[in-house]
């Protein structure tokens, strides 16, 4: 193998794949990235056996071939090479080494045989559809904060992606919850997604996928079976195993009869919560929302450092009500609400509360109150 390419192109592709590689591995080859040259492109592939990311980048290939070298070392080297440089890559010593040259720098990396590199077989992916990168980013960004990290309930460690009927239309919905709060975001069901199984996409896959795509109109091809999912963008392909579990019947915890509504200006509310919560230095970070006609008083107390209150003008009609929340959870959600106004639908101080962007029924957040 012998090829030449731009520093920027190599760095970008490498940055996308290297984070899949775990820092510590018991199987040496899993620390490596597969470097593969066909007639016009260089393809880099990394895997942790559950997740496999591969990205191609244009290169001037003199001789095709493939090898594997330590991913993090290669990334460190390329990161430190000067911008705009040309990089030359060549296998040496009968494939036992890979030599990288750039200007007057020369690096020799030990290789492992490419035949030993684990190949993830996606198997047959019977369901396939196309989704714009913008929609996919929206599904991910607005739900991933609620993914659980608790390992005993492993089936909550990802985003539940499934087809469902909502308001008479078919939608593709993403749901994540950690047992304290829940986020549910949907987009119109893409063509071809009818009949797809509900799947739980693991947290790490979500994180890696998000690095590969940006909010553009590019179309992402999604293919899935009950055990695997594949996302293919223009140059990059990500294949991942799915979490083998049953996502809880989340619709049961989304209340439907919450009769009290509170509309707040989202930015002002979020800033006020942030200020008031500065007083509570313990981990519970509780803030109290006391609402009367037209006014909302946010308050927090800490036996240690004192208390804080802030008054906001809001749109609220109904009996006076007090309810407590974890301020961090409130902030997490208000950050996801892009619009001007957020709407709370509340039943009482002990039942789940719904938060939504006003006028946007495509995303709803459910939050369990805190009793203070």
């Amino acid at each position: 193998m012998k090829l030449t390419l731009d520093h920027a192109a190599l760095l970008k592709a490498l940055a996308h794949v290297q984070s899949v590689v775990e820092r510590r591995n018991t199987i040496p080859i899993l620390s490596n990235v597969k470097v593969e040259a066909d007639s016009e492109a260089l393809r880099l592939t990394a895997t942790d056996m559950d997740l496999d990311v591969s990205e191609a980048t244009g290169a001037d290939v003199a001789k095709t071939g493939a090898t594997t070298v330590p991913a993090h070392t290669l990334y460190e080297i390329v990161r430190k090479l000067p911008d705009g440089a040309q990089i030359e890559i060549e296998t040496a010593s009968g494939g036992q080494q890979m030599v990288l040259r750039c200007g007057r720098s020369r690096f020799t990396l030990a290789s492992l045989p490419v035949e030993d590199f684990p190949v993830m077989t996606a198997g047959e992916l019977p369901h396939a559809f196309r989704l714009s990168a913008r929609d996919l980013c929206g599904l991910i960004d607005r739900t991933r904060f609620a993914i659980s990290t608790e390992e005993t309930r492993y089936y909550l460690n990802g985003i539940y992606l499934h087809e469902i009927k909502h308001g008479g239309a078919d939608v593709l919905r993403a749901v994540a919850t950690d047992g304290h709060r829940l986020a549910s975001v949907e987009v119109p069901l893409p063509e071809g997604a009818n009949g797809m199984p509900g799947v739980i996409v693991p947290r790490k896959t979500i994180a890696e996928l998000r690095k590969l795509i940006d909010e553009s109109d590019d179309q992402i091809e999604v293919g899935l079976s009950t055990t695997k999912i594949r996302f293919a963008a223009e140059k990059a392909v990500l294949t991942s195993k799915l979490i083998d579990g049953t996502f809880p019947d989340y619709e049961r915890v989304i209340p439907t009869g919450n009769d009290k509504t509170l509309d707040v200006a989202c930015k002002a509310f979020s800033a006020a919560v942030d200020r008031v919560s500065a007083i509570s230095n313990d981990r519970s970070r509780a803030v109290k929302l006391a609402m009367t006609n037209g006014t909302l008083v946010l308050s927090a107390t800490s036996p240690d450092s004192g208390s804080a209150t802030e008054e906001l003008e809001v749109n609220y009609r109904g009996e006076a009500l007090e309810i407590g929340f974890n301020s961090r959870y409130l902030l997490d959600i208000t950050q996801q609400i892009g619009g001007e106004e957020a709407r709370f639908s509340i039943a009482d101080a002990a039942s789940p509360t719904i938060l939504q962007e006003r006028g946007d029924s495509g995303a709803i957040y459910v939050l369990m109150p805190m009793r203070v």
């Binding site: 304290h180 313990d282 981990r283 519970s284 036996p303 974890n326 459910v366 805190m370 009793r371």
Partner: protein, 602 residues
């Protein structure tokens, strides 16, 4: 198949299996008999780990001829005067020990009552009783068991090495001796003495402490606090080691109920609860506790060797132990275990005199690694000498004036004189110096403050959007349900969820996102095991400890004299300030006497 009644010899051997587990059990049973007989001196001889010979001789009340012959019969005892089992004031009552021992060994008993002219001797060989013969025995009784387990070869095979069995036997005597300082104990292996505890007269508490110091070592006596409490007729006495005196295993906890050594999970759990937050979970305190209750409130007839007991009101006993220990330990804020300062002092004295020539000058060989640039070096100023920086808050009078001023409040931790290495505070007290680890001390103060705040407020509870259902067995569910109100008070809401499961609806907000099912399982196990629920508190304390650590003055921060004094005064006012949350001391004390010893003035 034919059902037949087992012959007596077999019945006795089966009973022996329960009572006589190993030579130490024989020693225990016989020494208990001697104590029940009112002996004031007991001599034990153990040869070849008890296999060859176990002999116990006492100067107790002895037995008459007829009693002697009856004593080796099963269920014959002098210790139950009537037929009630509810008032047991003696060690024995089952009437099983002697026949059981007799069934598995060659037993000979010689005895003489105090007012009788002659004594009697009796041999029992593997359960076959001989004739009582006159004997020249002195006052009291001597029981000798030879060739133990010769009749039950299976048991013989399971014995450990002679040294191990001897050690177990000595430990059995030690346990009994702790509860009976008024009795002298001697244990030998026929050649040399293994244990020699002379009888101690005088004040009971003092005698007890001296006996304990003889058995557990002088460290224990120096680092133990007397414990005394009473509730509804149940009394608790004994000594508890300071948290800084801790061990890796819990074998140094000795529990006595009405003078009887027991290994009872309820009581061990109570000790663990009392020391919670003072020790890391893998370290165990030392303690010797005596619970005295009216005989009818304790059921000792639970276990063949009486190692376990049952209390009529277990919660009362548990509460008594926890609160009494806590109270006793809280009074020791100004004490750390003495041994801490001793090795330090020893290290100083052990230094060869040659090193003392210039103790303050940096020695060349300590500094090899550091290239030195004398020209750039700042003048060495390691001591923030207090007298040079008196402040309005804490005027520091020149030494000598303190004693003269009768108005001067007593300051157990003294006045701060200097800070060393920006880490340790040196304070001068009336009779010595105190060296404080500023981080450890402040961490403990912060932790106690956070705990007080938490206790004062109502804990915030985070509701669970998806309540967690945990499958458990009925025993564990019942145990959790019984304490549900207690859990709710700390923010955990648990309810029964049909058969075989509980549902958790709310968790303490302080814990953040916890693995609820693991926590509940731990709690349930603890409730079932020793009726304690430490996990939840432990988790909360861990959060508090982490917060305390982050909010405390670190080592390496320079403190002014007034800051140092403020820290010392707060330590004096805070319970448990003598050790940090990991059980390490926050300060050590070096008395003038110890300093004088270092310089050979004494």
């Amino acid at each position: 198949m034919i059902v037949r009644k087992l012959p007596d010899s077999v019945v006795n051997r089966i009973a022996a299996g329960e009572v006589v587990e190993r030579p130490a059990s024989v020693v225990k049973e016989l020494v208990e008999n001697s104590i029940d007989a009112g002996a004031s001196a007991i001599q034990v001889v153990i040869r070849d780990g008890g296999r060859a010979l176990i002999s116990v001789a006492d100067d107790g009340c002895g037995m008459a001829r007829d009693d002697l012959c009856l004593a080796v019969e099963r269920h014959a005892t002098s210790k139950l005067a009537d037929e009630t089992l509810s008032r047991i004031g003696t060690f024995g009552f089952r009437g099983e020990a002697l026949p059981s021992i007799a069934a598995v060994s060659r037993l000979s008993i010689a005895t003489r009552q105090r007012d009788q002219d002659s004594g009697w001797a009796l041999d029992v060989d593997g359960g076959h009783k001989g004739e009582a013969k006159p004997s020249g025995q002195a006052d009291g009784t001597r029981v000798e068991a030879r060739d133990l387990f010769f009749a039950t070869p299976a048991r013989l095979k399971f014995l450990k090495a002679a040294a191990t069995e001897t050690r177990h036997a000595v430990e059995a005597v030690q346990r009994l001796a702790m509860a009976h300082p008024e009795v002298g104990f001697f244990v030998g292996d026929g050649d040399r003495p293994l244990l020699n505890l002379p009888a101690l007269r005088g004040d009971a508490e003092d005698a007890r402490l001296r006996r304990l110091s003889k058995i557990l070592g002088p460290d224990f006596a120096r680092s133990a606090v007397a414990v005394a409490g009473e509730r509804d007729g149940v009394r608790l006495g004994g000594f508890a080691g300071l948290p800084t005196l801790n061990r890796r295993v819990a074998t140094m906890q000795f529990l006595f109920v009405n003078g009887r050594p027991v290994r009872d999970r309820l009581l061990y759990g109570a000790i663990r609860g009392a020391y919670q937050g003072l020790l890391p979970s893998d370290r165990h305190p030392m303690a010797v506790l005596f619970v005295d209750a009216a005989p009818e409130d304790v059921d000792v007839n639970v276990h063949p060797t009486k190692a376990e007991v049952r209390f009529r009101d277990a919660a009362l006993v548990r509460g008594l132990i926890v609160s009494t220990l806590r109270h006793a330990l809280a009074g020791t804020a100004q004490r750390t275990a003495v041994p801490v300062s001793m090795p330090a002092a020893a290290a100083v004295t052990a230094r060869p005199p040659a090193d003392w020539r210039a103790p303050l000058a940096p020695r060349a060989r300590d500094r090899v690694a550091t290239p030195s640039f004398p020209g750039l070096r700042e003048p060495l100023a390691p001591y923030d000498l207090a007298p040079s920086a008196p402040t309005a808050d804490w005027p520091v009078p020149p030494p000598g004036e303190e004693a003269a001023d009768p108005e001067q409040p007593v300051l157990p931790l003294g006045l701060a004189r200097a800070q060393l290495h920006s880490t340790y505070i040196i304070a001068e007290t009336a009779d010595g110096i105190v060296l404080v680890d500023q981080h450890a001390a402040h961490e403990r103060l912060t932790q106690e403050r956070l705990k007080r705040e938490l206790a004062a407020g109502v804990p915030a509870r985070q509701g669970l959007l998806i309540p967690e259902v945990i499958e458990l067995d009925e025993g564990r569910i019942a145990a959790l349900e019984a304490r549900a109100a207690e859990f709710e008070a700390i923010g955990m809401v648990i309810e029964r969820f049909g058969a075989g499961a509980v549902i958790v609806r709310e968790v303490p907000a302080l814990l953040g996102t916890v693995e609820v099912s693991a926590l509940i399982r731990d709690l349930a196990d603890e409730l079932v095991d020793d009726d304690a629920h430490l996990s939840l508190n432990e988790r909360l304390e861990k959060v508090i400890a982490t917060m305390a650590c982050h909010h405390s003055v670190r080592a390496g921060r320079t403190l002014s004299v007034s800051e140092m004094n403020a820290l010392l005064r707060e330590m004096e006012a805070t319970p448990f300030s003598g050790q940090c949350s990991h059980g390490r001391p926050t300060y050590v004390e070096l008395s003038l006497a110890e300093i004088e010893k270092l310089f050979g003035r004494r």
